[in-house]
Amino acid sequence: MIHQYKLNGYNIVIDTASGSVHSVDNVAYDAISMFELKTREEITEALLEKYSGEPDITKQEINDLLDDIQSLKDEKKLFTKDLYEGQAFNLKMRNPVVKALCLHISHACNLNCEYCFAAQGKYHGQSALMSFEVGKRALDFLIENSGTRTNLEVDFFGGEPLLNFKVIKQLVEYARSVEKDYGKNFRFTLTTNGVLIDDDVIDFCNRECHNVVLSLDGRKEIHDAKRPTPTGGGSYDLIVPKFKKLVEARGGKGYYMRGTFTHANTDFTNDIFHMADMGFSELSMEPVVCKPDEPYALTRDDLPVLLEQYEILAKEMIKRRKAGNGFTFYHYMIDLKSGPCIYKRISGCGSGTEYMAVTPAGDLYPCHQFVGDKKYLMGNVFDGITNDEIRSGFASCNVYSREECKNCWARLYCSGGCAANSYHATGSINGVYEYGCELFKKRMECAIMMEVAKEDE
């Protein structure tokens, strides 16, 4: 299976199963589109007719071009057959290991964000802070269930994690004290709204955190409208100076500014450019996740606007990169040469199998977006996984478990997408969140185009 598209002056051909990418001229673009459907004679005739005004398009030239295409097919770089479905089955049977936890260190928040999927940080329950005892047990659970994995990841999440900063520090200290004994390497990340950032937090993050995710929605009026304080004031002026100080202290690396866009700012590239113009260079901007009847939900009419925005973003990023003031966008950070292996691409994000969320009480859920939904309670850190059916269901949830994905060119880039999005959109983790698919495919087209453009620079 191949995917062909034209973007920003480039003709691009992607070979789905091998991951090969080709940048081609118009004649080759047309020849490839006909290659599996017509005979060589029919293709030659069609191309000679279409390009009759171009003297270099001769019968011999087309013959050579078709030989090139056949060679790429023989080398399994075009029209490659997908033989991975059996591996997806093997993956399900593999002995499961846990390698990452999302620690809900706080089910409380000091902001009152309108679109919060976690219901203002409380996940439809009571406010709660994780105790050191529960957190320590979670880290032990991770070590015990991680098999031979060396790199273990823990994200301090909420709510607002810094409301429980004392326990965060205790847990990191504990992890550092035992990791060498077990041959493990803990990598900590922190997701914060920034309100409580001070010098102590900055020192801690720079010493211990592999990555810091900083919530900022871009322009002040956009951010303040959606992320107010509990008394209704804006939070932009409070947090931006703190973010700048933290990022500067980190040397401008190992962080992401993470924004959310909604129906209110479908021109979200302006929010990304705003953050870039403030000096932030590691950027991420995500579509809101919510029920479709919310006033800020993205609508079907928004979709073409959003797709165009992703193209605008890619073109501007190329322009700025050439001018020497480039920035990165999380979803355009693909590495064609050293990207993930086929197993990773089949198994996806690992939710419910190698990645789980832990509530302040120690309950285990497949990921942070399922927390509070009792149907998806998997067990707890004291007793382990008590509902193995859920884990088994997530192990089976991959691109080959969905008919729609089997015929999609982007399946080995998205790995079937986000199980939580599928569940919230269709009622099943094996459903397909089509709106998200459209956005994802456009992001991939843009990201790959940017890599092709790099080759020209």
Binding site: A17, V24, D68, A100, L336, P340
Partner: protein
């Protein structure tokens, strides 16, 4: 190639890859794996 009409970009051959599981598990909402890096190759 016999012509210069197709430029093949260097990519990792998926059919020859792999899985060690050491790769990393920003977005928290719209996961794909395309932008992850392999740590072991």
């Amino acid at each position: 190639k016999k012509t210069n009409r197709i430029k093949t970009i260097e990519t990792r051959d998926l059919s020859k890859s792999a899985g060690c599981g050491e790769c990393q598990t920003a977005c928290k909402t719209s996961c794909g794996v395309a932008n992850q890096k392999c740590e072991n190759k």
